[in-house]
């Protein structure tokens, strides 16, 4: 174990940060080269991703930051407590290598990258986060907080039930979220009042409205590459939320007019692909970029980092604390399709509805080696796809670029077979 601070730690931290810039730039350059600026609205999001990798996010400096290790954290509460949430989930290969030192060999890349980001102090915000909120979702994430690494940011364990259908599980989650709201007040030193929480819910609802509009537009006018859409959702935590929302609105406006069309998907007959499984988090766009470079068109994705983060809404009946907090809790539990819940038939239904709505030709199922939950669900989803007569490509991969050659052959063959079926 590397003690902090020491020379080796400093070298590791600096090197990882530099490599993160290189990784991000190579992905972004590729994306921007392909699209050649056809959708001007995307420039803002490319810019955000670039400044994220350089740790230059322009968030409000005076505010306190609270890191979240998973999308299951009710961010509205964090806003209401006067802090700004920031994501630690990372798609960086260099970060996953930095984190891998502390984790078992078979850990998933996403978890080791998350740990690496925290450990090397690479959370791209002006001041150090005051806490890391760690929900008890998958086993690997949940045990992160116990790894001795000499870190100085306290972890907060947010208890999430392992099932979501029973009344008991829902009650447990309600009380867990309620307790979280009280503890947050202690962490930030600011009270969560009725009006602040209402403002926070509506602020996030605006972002959700914009995001859902983008989702609808992709359904009706598929003029945007799926990789770009994944990037848009990924940048949600990289800027002030209102500014992000505004830019998504103008992107929607541009796309809805149908003026711009990405040259990468000019072919209307390109096989329409639905991407699901372990989430592609920036800069790990290995799979989506490859699929679209090979002539596939990712029309939709079922990732926690995009759809699950923003799609589900909050419905409050009485705008008092006693109703707002359970309403918030519901948003993060009931419609959630994370495989950490069992049973998780809602995921099947969601995939089927996407297949129908987006007229999907084939499903690509990504799992990161070591992500048992997505691996375990793959057989169920596989047989479901067989039933529906939708070809599925199951890909087990990680953040390293080593398997690119092997993957490109498989993806090319898959896309060709889809084209042949059309």
């Amino acid at each position: 174990m590397i003690q902090k601070p020491n020379k080796r730690y400093d070298r590791l931290s600096t090197a990882s940060k530099k490599r993160l810039v290189i990784e991000s730039d190579s992905v972004l350059n590729e994306l921007q080269k392909e699209s050649a600026g056809t959708i001007p609205g995307m420039d803002y999001f490319y810019g955000l991703a670039r400044s994220y990798s350089r740790g230059e996010l322009s968030k409000q400096d005076k505010k306190k930051y609270i890191a979240t290790s998973c999308v299951q954290v009710p961010i509205e509460l964090i806003y209401a407590a006067g802090a700004v949430p920031v994501r630690t989930c990372s798609g960086s290969h260099s970060m996953s290598q930095a984190g891998a030192e502390f984790l078992p060999a078979k850990s998933c890349s996403l978890v080791s990258a998350t740990f690496g980001t925290i450990y090397t102090d690479s959370i791209p915000v002006p001041s150090k986060p005051v806490a890391i909120i760690n929900p008890t979702t998958c086993d690997q994430k949940k045990k992160l907080s116990e790894i001795p690494s000499g870190m100085d940011i306290p972890y907060y364990t947010l208890e999430l039930p392992p099932t979501k259908d029973s009344e008991e599980a829902q009650m447990y989650w309600y009380s867990s979220v309620k307790k979280f709201s009280r503890d947050l007040e202690g962490i930030t030193g600011k009270r969560i009042t009725r009006s602040r929480l209402k403002a926070a819910i509506l602020k996030v609802a605006k972002a959700q409205q914009a995001f859902r509009q983008l989702h609808q537009i992709r359904k009706e006018h598929p003029s945007m590459r799926g990789t770009d859409a994944i990037l848009v959702a990924n940048t949600f935590f990289y800027d002030d939320i209102d500014s992000w929302t505004q830019h998504v609105d103008s992107l929607n406006h541009e796309l809805a007019q149908g003026l711009h069309r990405d040259p990468g998907i000019s072919d209307n007959n390109a096989p329409r692909i639905l991407l699901t499984g372990s989430p592609s988090i920036f800069p790990n766009f290995k799979l989506p970029v490859m699929i679209e470079a090979m002539g596939g068109h990712i029309v939709a994705d079922e990732f926690c980092s995009s759809n699950r983060l923003l799609y589900d809404t909050v419905a409050v009946d009485e705008w008092n604390m006693y109703d707002m907090i359970p309403a918030l809790a519901d948003r993060y539990l009931k419609a959630c399709t994370c495989p950490c819940f069992t049973p998780n038939q809602d995921r099947d239904r969601k995939l089927l509805s996407y297949i129908k709505d987006f007229r999907v030709d084939g499903l690509v199922y990504q799992t990161f080696s070591g992500c048992q939950l997505y691996e375990l669900e793959s057989s169920r989803i596989g047989s479901l796809m067989e039933q529906e007569n939708i070809p599925m490509l199951y890909i087990e991969t990680d953040y390293s670029p080593d398997d690119r050659g092997q993957l490109s052959t498989r993806i090319e063959a898959f896309i060709e077979s889809l084209s042949a079926r059309k």
């Binding site: 810019g47 322009s58 409000q60 259908d165 009344e167 009006s195 209402k198 403002a199 509506l202 609802a205 605006k206 959700q208 409205q209 859902r212 609808q216 800027d239 002030d240 209102d242 500014s243 505004q246 589900d312 809404t313 419905a315 009946d317 009485e318 705008w319 008092n320 006693y322 109703d323 359970p326 309403a327 519901d330 948003r331 009931k334 419609a335 809602d346 239904r349 969601k350 089927l352 509805s353 129908k356």
Partner: protein
Amino acid sequence: MNNLQRYINNANISRFRLIFQILAFLLLIYGGYLSIHIGTSIPTFACPYNQECPGTCYLISAQHQLHNTWSDLFGFRGKAFLTGFITFVLLFLVINKAWCGYVCPLGTIQDWITKLRNFLGVKFSRYDELSFKRLKIIKFVLLILLVLIPLGMSNSLLGLPLFSHDLSAPFCQICPGRVITPLFIGDTSQLLVDFTNPTTMIMSTLGILVLALFFIGSFFKKRFFCFFCPMSALHFLFSSIAFLRLNKKGENCTRCGNCYRVCDVGIKAIAEDLEHTYMVKDDCMLCLKCVEACPENDCLKASFLTIPVFSSTEEGFFKRNLHLDHEMQNPSNQSNNEDITKNDDSKTK
């Protein structure tokens, strides 16, 4: 037509309901002053104990008409009963259980009490799943009793002696409507315990107890009384063939639970049931709050004789929800604008 449909789907039905309820309340409480008469088979609490009520709740008519011997019931009195019954069913079929959600004055009073509680910031309570299942039977038991007791006053049921005539219209004796609706025209004569004989004493005491429960219960639990209302049970028998319908398209449902959250009577099936399409359950009052809270296009839909009346849409959901944002003070908007300009500045640097 599409524009009209869109306008309606974006509308705030709860506000419309609030206004409609007030008008219906005024009609059913004070209609008599205008010499309006709307019949004796009204499928909601139009209580004739209130002198100025323009009609008669079907429950009281039914209890009186059933207070007859078998031979009479199968004779000319049966005809009267049948006419009343058919009128009731026909009236009911038009708007289904919206009679409860939009017209019933007792329901309206409970909604006002809920508004008061909300204003005071007192938390509402909810039954857990098991209590919900057990307690919902009560209204059917009451319905059976209000049919059997009047029959038992003129006929011997299973060899029992005839019931006392003081039990006439037994449900009305414990119904809070009998006491509450006259109060609105300043008549407090029903607010008493009748000491004439043990039967009247027991019944009128029960009535006062139910009245107290009505106010206390509906303060803490939305639509507390409706859950036990035999009228609601009687409605349910014909609900599946009614013209105004609430349907669900299970494949569009994400099970986000929004509809169940806002449901005043706490019907869980609306969120969980993905197979059945007809969603008017025994406790439903067709207030359509669930449709308002559903963010999925066309998942929940109210229709009248297959013509869609009000559907859930994403646009409508956000419009209703974010409308609240404009009602909030400007300072928050101002600070947002500052943030944006700050960001722009930092980018230009």
